[in-house]
Amino acid sequence: MAEFHPKIYAFLCNWCTYAGADLAGTSRMLYPADFRVIKVPCTGRIDPEFIVKAFEQGADGIWVSGCHIGDCHYNTGNYYAQRRWTIFRHELDCLGIDLRRLKFTWISAAEGRKFADEAKEFVNRIRDLGPYERFHEIIPAEPELALKTGGGN
């Protein structure tokens, strides 16, 4: 049976977590590659719309990560993000989203090891959970390639 490669989007802040990911890479740490990184300047930039949109694009899991509290490159961005995620996550839970598929971390530029470990943890978690079928059911089906017009590959 084909191995399930989950679709995971990772919203990472440029200054800390993304740098941490870089460090994991340059240190040749191994971790599963089953996630797509979307770099943002700061977690404060992350609009909850990104998370909903990611699920609508078929995400099986979403990872959001930034600088530790007090260490934000822009001083206060992650404080706002923390408040925003707290309330938004609560709403997602209330509306029946599977919170196991949503991960939040603070990972600094020095924490390459932590990045690799968290990546491994999350990818394995989503692999075990399987595709997020419950949400995928409401995503409008992808149209099949045209047969009538004689087009298609």
Binding site: E49, R83, I87, H90, E118
Partner: protein, 298 residues
Amino acid sequence: MSASNESTTGTATAETTKEVDALRKVARELLESGAVKMVIGYGEGYTQGKVMPIFLTDPEEVNRLIFDKRCVNNLATYLKKPEIRAMGKVAIVVKGCDARAINVLLLENQARRENLVILGMVCEGVGDPAEEKCLSCLVNTPPVYDHLFGEKIPARGWNEETFAKVEELDAMSPEERWEFWRRHFDRCIKCYACRQVCPICTCTRCITDKNQPQWVPTSPHPMGNYHWNLTRAFHLAGRCVSCNECERACPVDIPLSIINLALVKAVHDQYGFIAGMNSEDSPPLATYKEGEEQEFIK
């Protein structure tokens, strides 16, 4: 005779309370003196037995003003209207919940205090039987007013029933919650009555009306409905005053108050904040404090 949405049912109640008499007197004075250009209040509706918002500019019409248990509308929503804002100073009849909405508008610079004469009505609850929201009212005496009609009374306050429906939802599994909302959101027709009636939805261009990019799908399919209702509630987090107009306006009876209350509770539990009690306290999602570490962030 002015044509300002006059009622043609013509069955104004003969008896009034002394509060309504006093209200009419003040409204007349305000209009006659030119202190305000318009009085926004409640009048007999087009439908027999209902009330509707009325917009008086002629002091001779003040006897159309009423206030009773049928006055469920939140008139603060009209303070969003460019036509009303262009009038300059207006007077507006409010219950406690409506006055809370005005506090939020003032806090967010969506209304000017000096352009408002707030006619506060002490209210023991609207609806017969009483609306659910009224059983947990925090503002039976409006929190902001220029004139108060009625004797001040203490607020009912939150009780064990206030968040009962939220707790019911909490007790369900995530799958059950998903199904619960799928069933309700299925009926959504994207009429946006919830958004339009809400006094706090003040964006001149709502996020769902933006298409570069299109964040919220406009289609009334399950995904579009889920996304819209989720976004609407979240954009009101820390701002919603639980007036329940959204739920009342919804033509297909989606229980929006449950989501709103879930967020009201979350904001209160986390940050000790309740929207609209005054117009000074900073909104919780626009501020932060040290020492708020969250367990769910690893």
